[in-house]
Amino acid sequence: MSFTNPDVDIAALPRFDEARLHALHPRYPRLVLALVGLIEVPAFIVIAVVVSLLGRDRVPAPFAIVLGVLALFVAVAWFRHKAASVIRYAVRQHDVIVRSGVFWKKDAVQPIKRIQHVEEVQGPLDKFFDLSTLKLFSAGTGDVRLQIPGLDVATAAALRSFILSVHESGADAPAPAAPAHAVEPAANAAPPSAVADAAGESAAPLSERSEP
């Protein structure tokens, strides 16, 4: 085995900000609204009832308080809805990119090789909306993990099996086709990556990493 160490042309590397981004399923922001509503609506009713029962003599300006709480809850719901609708994800042959954040826009690049295990989660509300969340775990500090919420079940399964296939076969599995609803106008599709040429068949099998 000969050892070479050629220079890397950094300018020619595939760019993460040019990857083709997919939107989440259109039902996902509604799911988030429903989730927020499940907590906020009962909470608001309780607050309104308590405030009105206490009456004017014990609470100054009860109407203003109820109105303030309502405004706060609407703002929270709006923000959560907004945050849910700005999430985008991209899948390249070697990594998964998740874009999120309303104010702090964050692009997280997760090399598939570094993923320790994949979890597909479907809560009761997810089930109702027929969506699921994919959680990607890697080693490291905190319980930091990347998750892609609001995927329709077929996409989540395809993505999961793609990630596992990359683990098993090195890195030569074809990327899964994007779901029809989710394709954003692509800025410009990433060129056949230099990364792909360099990678070869390397990734350790997933089974080895999830040993006891």
């Binding site: 050892f3 590397l13 090399p111 090789k113 570094r114 500090t141 930091v144 990678a199």
Partner: protein, 515 residues
């Protein structure tokens, strides 16, 4: 499967399970005492006292006796029910009298193998072998009261197994396959170095915090302490002048800091006495400790991040601490004692010695002379704005207390100036350099800190930008390795994006394992 001679004649059973020597009961006793010292002191002590004062005083001996009996019985049971073997690709341990646990620790998962020489085994010439895994702290194995030969043999056997299992990786790590080289010391520290380390790195705070914690359990107030010592605070205030009181306060502050410094130096000497770091092709061996001698073995490839840290006192004497970080465990974050053990700290490193260490550990030939891309001046402006906004409202205070005006305004201005100076230093220190596959993030205020890691060991890399940052073309980058998270704020966007691309490329194209 195993060929190690049985320690102390405890012959292995047919299936390879072995018992520890009976001396290990000393280890179990020590462990129980450490685990339950609080309960014993804060529960048993007052209970005995209470019983002695009550009309049942003739039974007061029962409580200490019960505690001692508990400790002894538990140690005996722990010893009787403890067995271990090396079997297949695992170290297996069965332990526990009431709740039986069976732990199987895969050789490939083993991070460190330490040989400890606790003081209570020193006269007997026995040691404790600690095997540390990449999993949680509960996957830790202590094999107590082994002879040094047995411990060394076990360690050699585990290392051999591990290297055999990692054979493929080994070929990738070093294609030339040089014959294994003998260990060679490359870094040692003298007593004077450790004294400097103790003075510049306030380790005593750990001890102080421990004492303070104990005090709070006792519910002792300052007044109580003064009462015990025989000072009546009220009278003191009335009788003596304000100047005398100030003098006493200053004097006690000086005495306290002297005491803290002494404790700190003592702690440094106890922990790092005889510090020696040896190298071989694949591993590092670190020996340290005065009372309990630690011998820590770690594979170089398992080190994720090297942190070169300089506190402000370090800066004055031109020293640094180098911390080698391995995989960290989320559950233990924030636990200082765990951190102290999991992280390997090289104390009191001179600035010109740093490069040799980073080169040895992760082939980073230099960190000081690199061409760092500085962080944007916007970062400084932002912090000046935030700090000014925090200081401004406090200027309104003299409106309510006009007689303080002359003293107060200069104080606030001074504070503001200090905060701005710190922000300036923080801005000046900030920077990122990527050189030959090594990422070096620079930060700090007075002292300079470096986070050094190989680009291919990245677990995740993020690019973060607010709309305001976007307008000024700056971005933050967050690098996450298995050991730590490093954030570099306010880099030029073009550079930040290429850094993200490069790290992703390095991780995805490298055939080396991050473990």
């Amino acid at each position: 499967m195993t060929t190690v001679s049985a320690p102390h004649g405890a012959a292995p059973a047919a299936d390879g399970w072995r018992r520890l020597s009976p001396w290990s009961m000393v280890h179990f006793t020590a462990r129980t005492i450490v685990q339950s010292i609080r309960a014993a002191v804060f529960g048993g002590g007052p209970a005995t006292y209470g019983l002695a004062r009550s009309n049942l005083s003739e039974y007061a001996w029962a409580i200490p006796t019960a505690i001692v009996a508990f400790v002894v019985v538990r140690a005996v049971l722990d010893y009787l029910f403890f067995s271990y073997r090396l079997h297949g690709d695992f170290v297996e341990v069965r332990q526990g009298a009431l709740s039986r646990t069976h732990l199987a620790l895969a050789f490939v998962r083993i991070q460190n193998i330490d040989i400890e020489h606790p003081w209570y085994f020193r006269p007997l010439g026995l040691v404790t072998l600690r095997i540390d895994s990449a999993g949680s702290s509960r996957d830790e194995v202590y094999l107590a009261a082994l002879t040094i030969d047995d411990a060394e043999a076990l360690r050699a056997q585990i290392v051999a197994k591990r290297q055999h299992l990692d054979a493929d990786e080994r070929v990738l790590d070093d294609p030339r396959q040089e014959p294994a080289e003998a260990e060679r010391a490359f870094f040692t520290r003298s007593l004077s170095d450790l004294v400097i380390h103790g003075l510049t790195n306030g380790r005593a705070w750990l001890a102080i915090a421990g004492i303070a914690g104990a005090m709070s359990q006792l519910n002792v107030s300052v007044g109580d302490v003064a009462g015990i010592v025989g000072i009546e605070i009220e009278r003191l205030v009335q009788v003596s002048s304000l100047a005398l009181l100030a003098f006493v306060v200053v004097l006690s502050a000086v005495a306290a800091s002297l005491a803290v410094a002494c404790l700190s130096v003592l702690g440094s000497v106890v922990v790092y006495h005889g510090f020696t770091a040896c190298r071989s092709e694949m591993d590092l061996t670190i020996t340290r400790g005065l009372l309990t001698k630690h011998e820590i073995h770690v594979r170089k490839s398992r080190i994720q991040t090297v942190i070169v840290r300089q506190r402000w006192l370090d800066y004055l004497v031109g020293r640094r601490s180098v911390v080698l970080e391995q995989i960290s465990h989320p559950a233990e974050a924030g636990n200082d004692w765990q951190d102290v053990r999991k992280k390997i700290l090289l104390p009191s490193v001179r600035v010109d010695e740093t490069a040799a260490i980073t080169e040895e550990v992760m082939h980073a030939r230099r960190i000081d002379g690199l061409a760092f891309t500085p962080i944007s001046k916007r970062y400084f402006r932002k912090h000046v704005a935030i700090r000014s906004a925090l200081c401004l409202p406090t200027l309104a205070v003299p409106l309510f207390a006009p007689n303080l005006l002359a003293l107060y305004i200069p104080l606030v201005v001074l504070l503001w100036a200090w905060l701005v100076t710190l922000a300036y230093w923080r801005w000046k220190r900030g920077g990122l350099a990527i050189d030959d596959g090594i990422v070096v993030a620079r930060s700090g205020t007075i002292g300079i800190d470096y986070h050094v890691f190989a680009a291919f060991k990245i677990q995740e890399v993020c690019h973060v930008q607010t709309p305001l940052m976007r307008r000024h073309d700056v971005s933050s980058v967050v690098f996450r390795t298995a050991a730590s998270t490093t954030r570099v704020p306010y880099l030029p966007t073009a550079f930040a994006k290429r850094a993200v691309d490069y790290c992703a490329y390095a991780a995805e194209s490298s055939e080396r394992s991050w473990m």
